[in-house]
């Protein structure tokens, strides 16, 4: 083989060295990367799950992963010093406390977050990326339609100070899904009983959303579920914490999927790939179906959706 053929790639690279060098550097960037994981509290199961899923995917892509549990770190100065000493290429913060501290001490480092409730309340910089904690409205409503297809009239209680935009969006999306939204605004929590009495007889299901103006305290939660039970209406909601009160269907974001999404984002950041969505909506869902409660309420569910259910609650 003529010598010049063997040398051709080298010659081309030398000629185009301005192009070849960055390519080589970028291609190996993530393999040598140092990632600092800052976990708000490693004893919280959901935080641990998201971290494990992230690490599982990133281990083969990162040079070194440093893991910090804020519950074990007595002073925030220690985190600041660690960031200075280690100079990580990326900081992955899990939970609100970790995100706040990572933003505060991270300097110019890219900060990635997940498991931050209502991330919009924090200041976001140009180097912040993340996976939101709440499912998209579209997914939330589609899964209600999928699992409980017979329930077309959906009632909701909300305080306009907290949820006006969300409800306007829900109204629009529900029309596309042939669902009807029946709204009841709550401005004074003392009226809750009356408002429930007005709303529940007119709907097939109560959609309980995260609204501090409605679910102000435990007593308010108990009132909502007691009334729903009295009117024999199932409750569809966003957190498994409500199953003990008798929620019939709970749809929330799947935690390990959030960790995998964060890992995909981390790879893109480290490789300096263009990122279309810097804050992603959680892609995976976790569904709990309380068939015991639905049986008590004489409400049918779509049995063809059973292979999508994570937790099935039967009567004991």
């Amino acid at each position: 083989m003529p010598n010049f053929i063997l040398k051709l790639p080298t010659i081309l690279c030398l000629l185009l060295s301005g192009l070849c060098l960055p390519l080589i550097t970028v291609a190996s960037a993530d393999a040598q990367a140092k990632i600092l994981i800052v976990n708000s509290d490693d004893s919280v199961e959901k935080y641990r799950q998201v971290k494990d899923a992230f690490k599982l995917q990133m281990t083969s892509h990162a040079g070194r992963i440093i893991d910090v549990d804020l519950q074990q770190t007595e002073q925030s100065d220690a985190l600041e010093q660690l960031i200075k000493d280690e100079s990580p290429d990326l900081i992955y913060s899990i939970g609100s406390k970790a995100y706040q501290l990572a933003t505060q001490y991270g300097g110019g480092k890219p900060v990635l977050f997940s498991s931050v409730i209502n991330w919009q309340r924090f200041e976001r910089h140009g180097n912040s990326y993340g996976v939101a904690n709440e499912l998209s409205l579209s997914q939330e409503l589609s899964l209600l339609r999928y699992v409980l297809p017979g329930l077309k009239k959906v009632g909701v209680l909300y305080n306009p100070s907290f949820n006006m935009e969300r409800i306007a969006e829900a109204r629009k999306q529900m029309r596309d899904m042939e669902l009807t939204l029946v709204e009841q605004t709550v401005t004074e929590n003392a009226q809750l009983d009356k408002l429930l009495d007005a709303l529940l007889p007119t709907v097939d299901v109560l959609w309980l959303i995260a609204d501090p103006g409605v679910l102000a305290d435990k007593a308010a939660v108990e009132k909502v579920f007691a009334s729903s039970s009295r009117y024999k209406k199932p409750v569809y909601t966003y957190s498994d914490a409500y199953t003990k009160y008798g929620a019939s269907l709970v749809v929330s974001a799947d935690t390990p999927t959030m960790g995998r999404q964060a890992a995909n984002l981390a790879q893109s950041i480290l490789l300096r790939e263009p990122i279309k969505e810097v804050i992603q909506t959680p892609a995976g869902s976790h569904i709990t179906l309380n068939v015991c409660q639905l049986g008590k309420l004489n409400t049918n569910y779509n049995s063809d959706a059973l292979d999508a259910i994570n937790q099935l609650l039967e009567c004991h």
Partner: protein, 284 residues
């Protein structure tokens, strides 16, 4: 009774993450296997990522224990499932047809039943997208799908064909629990494309017609069988009674409900299929 050793009480199972429930079940299984006669249905499905192992264990144990000395053991890890099989544990193995074809090359299994849903024995995986014009635009894209990475990569490779096979290495996968999640991830821009079954895309049309209308199919895979019930070749006669119980599940409402948790509503005996179909499952 030996069977109680296998059972994870519901109150405990509910608090356990899926993998922990599986490990606990396995530990108990070892004790019970040493003790005696209980026969087990082993389950592993690389085509789904729904963490419902605790629910499956509870529901199937309740059903099977009412039919005899039987229980159910789901697996979240392929390697654990395969080592159970290579140790020649007795019982019936529920596995995906994709996995069956791979396993059969090293561990001789005999497929006896094939899963059915709404009269269909087979499914087809498809690749759908909202914004991409064709397959060539997949370089650098994230594709969402349900199942193990091995499974998703093999489906993708099949759909890319030889012309676009080099794209596979440039594609990121995002594993989500179920097909409907993958399809919706495309809708809100987290993934550029989704791998799902054709039937899941049809379900999306019923649930959210607007989102369905935005998706187009870029490629289709070959048809494959749904879940398979198989036994180790030398043990077919020993497992006849358990196979009968499994086969009859679709004929009783309580059994059908459990099958639906696996995405099925019944079974068909492979020896009753058309020769062309059964041949696909009989190949060594």
């Amino acid at each position: 009774m030996i069977n109680t050793l296998f059972d994870i009480p519901l109150s405990v199972a509910k608090r356990l993450p899926g993998a922990a429930a599986v490990l606990l079940g396995l530990a108990l299984l070892v004790q019970a296997s040493a003790a005696g006669t209980t026969k087990t249905v082993f389950f592993y499905n690389p085509e789904s990522s729904v963490d419902n192992f605790a629910a499956l264990k509870t529901e199937f144990d309740n059903y099977l224990s009412g039919q005899g000395e039987y229980n159910f053991q789901p697996f979240s890890e392929r390697s654990t499932f395969e080592s159970m099989l290579s140790d020649k544990a007795q019982g019936v193995y529920l596995l995906s047809s994709w996995h069956y074809a791979q396993l059969n090359a090293k561990t001789p299994l005999e497929a006896v039943l094939v899963g059915v849903i709404k009269g269909e024995l087979q499914q087809r995986k498809i690749l759908t997208s909202k914004d991409l014009g064709d397959i060539s635009a997949l370089a650098g894209a994230t594709i969402a799908g349900s199942g193990s990475e091995d499974y998703l990569r093999s489906q993708l490779q099949q759909m890319l064909g030889s012309q676009y096979s080099s794209l596979s290495a440039k594609i990121k996968l995002l594993t989500v629990p179920k097909d409907i999640d993958a399809l919706m991830a495309v809708g809100f821009g987290v993934a550029a494309a989704a791998i799902s079954s054709e039937s899941s895309l049809n379900k999306l049309a019923m649930i959210n017609p607007k989102q369905h209308a935005q998706l187009k199919t870029l490629a289709s895979g070959e048809k494959s069988f749904l879940l398979i019930a198989a036994v180790a070749k030398q043990q077919q006669n020993d497992e006849a009674s358990l196979l009968k119980v499994i086969e009859a599940m679709g004929q009783q409402p309580s059994g059908e409900k459990k099958l639906k948790m696996l995405g099925l509503d019944g079974w068909k005996r492979i020896d009753t299929l058309d020769a062309a179909l059964s041949k696909q499952l009989r190949q060594p």
